[in-house]
Each structure stands twice: as structure tokens, then as C-alpha cells.
């Protein structure tokens, strides 16, 4: 069955891999990003959207509803980092990361869930991080935002369970994307050492987990946090 899928932050990295995967399964897929969208997004419906701005979220979802129909599967993936030690982290560094990663997910979910309620079917998958489970020196803002996603997701899962909407979280370990490329060699090396499987994950390995949680087969799975992290969260 073909569904309408929205992937926020779907123009690159994990989001793009996820969008491509849903597209290849025959779904109608919309992707959003702030900074305009690349033109190699073949077959994907690209809209501009800043998840820190409710009006922008509303406009983007309205455009998607008009062109593809109501969103049935939401992948809330847009996210940023603003790393630094707490002693040197200012209020803006902290609150802007929360605003994009946590409140952004709330804004998009709130906007699309009404139509899911009407349809008595919906899937919401939030992309969190292994860092939200274990914390990370230098990422207090980011880890707080990602841990917050679990509380948000589980509350939504309970609030909308009666409407046959499932809400789950995928917590990736280090994945080979721009976010990882931005780190220093030393940081990357330390990360590799910490991962039991001894490698970075591929974006499509996260996409596969998201696809499962959004599938018909996962209809009895809600409020769960699925770590896809090479074993990192065990240690």
C-alpha cells in the first residue's frame, strides 16, 4: 500500500537515505530542508521548511497535503549539533539545539497528527541518538534534546494509541554523514574504538530500521527506542 511520507531534513544524510528507501518501496515521499533543496532528489517532493518556525512547518505541510495528500508516515529527522563543553556553552547554544531537535519534532508531529487521527492510522518515527541514552561530554545540549525526544515520543504514543497511531524512536550510533565528517580525525578515531562492531553505520542502515517501524508489520510496536548503533549503547 502506497503511503504519504514526510521526512524532515530529508535533503541529505540519514534523512535522504530514508526518503530514497521509502520512495523505492513505492511510497509518495516529501522531504524538507531549510536551505533550499538539491535538484538530484529524483522522485521526491521537496519543500522548504524550517522546523524552528511553526508557520513554516504549517506552510510546508499544507503544500504537501495539497500535492500528495495527508501525511501518513512522519519521520522527524531534522537535527543540528552545536558542540562545546558546558562551561563554555552559552544559553543560545543550548536553546537553539533544543528548539531545532526537540521542539522542531513537536511542531511537525502536532501539525500532521490531526490528519492521522482522522484516518485512524499513522506512524511517527523520531530520529534520536545513542548520545540521548548515554550522554556525551561536549554535547550536553544535543544529548538533552535527544533524550527529550524519548519523553515526547512516548507521550505522543500514549495520547494517540487509541487512534491507531504508533510513535517510536530510532537511536543511531555514529553514521557516515556530514555530521560525522565535521569531526576531527581524533574524535572519529575515538568513536570507532568505542563501537563494538568497529565501524560507522551507513545511512541506509538507519533507514531500514525506520522503514520497519513505519511498516504495517510494526503495528504492535509503539513507544519503543530502537538503538542502531553497532553495539555502542551496550558499553
Amino acid at each position: 500500500m502506497s503511503r504519504v511520507v514526510l521526512v524532515t531534513g530529508g535533503n541529505r544524510g540519514i534523512g535522504l537515505a530514508t526518503a530514497r528507501r521509502f520512495h523505492s518501496c513505492g511510497h509518495k515521499v516529501a522531504v524538507t530542508a531549510r536551505s533550499g533543496v538539491a535538484d538530484d532528489l529524483e522522485g521526491l517532493f521537496a519543500v522548504k521548511c524550517d522546523v524552528t518556525d511553526s508557520d513554516s512547518v504549517d506552510a510546508a505541510v499544507t503544500e504537501i497535503e495539497g500535492s500528495l495528500g495527508p501525511v501518513e508516515i512522519l519521520v522527524s529527522n531534522a537535527g543540528i549539533t552545536r558542540d562545546g563543553l558546558v562551561l563554555r556553552m552559552n544559553d543560545a547554544d543550548f536553546s537553539e539545539v533544543i528548539d531545532a531537535n526537540l521542539t522542531g519534532g513537536f511542531r511537525v508531529a502536532r501539525r500532521v497528527v490531526k490528519q492521522m487521527m482522522r484516518a485512524r492510522w499513522g506512524r511517527i518515527v523520531f530520529v534520536s541518538s545513542v548520545v540521548g541514552l548515554g550522554g556525551q561530554a561536549g554535547q550536553a545540549n544535543y544529548a538533552a534534546s535527544k533524550a527529550g525526544i524519548t519523553g515526547l515520543a512516548r507521550s505522543l504514543a500514549k495520547e494517540f494509541a487509541g487512534r491507531n497511531i504508533t510513535v517510536n524512536v530510532v537511536a543511531p550510533g555514529p553514521i557516515d554523514t556530514d555530521m560525522i565528517a565535521a569531526l576531527s580525525d581524533a574524535q572519529r578515531g575515538a568513536m570507532l574504538d568505542a563501537v563494538p562492531l568497529g565501524r560507522f553505520g551507513a545511512p541506509d542502515e538507519i533507514a531500514a530500521a525506520i522503514e520497519y517501524l513505519a511498516s504495517e508489520d510494526a503495528g504492535f510496536v509503539t513507544g519503543t527506542v530502537l538503538a542502531v548503533d553497532g553495539g555502542l549503547s551496550m558499553s
Partner: protein, 76 residues
């Protein structure tokens, strides 16, 4: 039936998936099988239909069609 009540009824029929003849002033939302989430959804539809704004607290104690209808009318 007044035009306003007809608009109200249409919203209720669409959101609560009930028949129009069930939407009578005496009906409780419980009897219409509507829970708190349904009520919030109905009020959102009514806000749109009547171009009014209902605050969260105003929903407290609204148990019947009459209660919801009066609340909307008071805003027109």
C-alpha cells in the same frame, strides 16, 4: 434548525463519525462515544468553521452538545 446549529452538526458528524440525528442538544459526548481527544478535535474543527478561538480551560466541564454549542455561540 438554525443555520449555526446545522454548521455545528456538520462538524460533529464529520469529526465524531456520528449520524446527524444523534447530534441533539441533550446528547452527552459520552453517549456519542467521544472521548477527550475527540472533543479537542471537534473544537478545532468548530474554531475553523466559525472562525473563533477557544482556550483550553474553556473546555473544562463541557459534557454535552448544548455545552459546546453555547460556548461557540457565545463567541460569535
Amino acid at each position: 434548525m438554525s443555520d449555526n446549529f446545522e454548521r455545528f452538526t456538520n462538524c460533529a458528524v464529520e469529526v465524531l463519525a456520528v449520524d446527524a440525528d444523534q447530534v441533539v442538544l441533550e446528547a452527552t459526548f459520552e453517549s456519542l462515544d467521544a472521548d477527550s481527544l475527540d472533543l479537542v478535535e471537534l473544537v478545532m474543527a468548530l474554531e475553523e468553521e466559525f472562525d473563533v478561538n477557544v482556550e483550553e480551560e474553556e473546555l473544562d466541564g463541557i459534557l454535552t452538545v448544548q455545552g459546546a454549542y453555547d460556548l461557540i455561540l457565545s463567541k460569535l
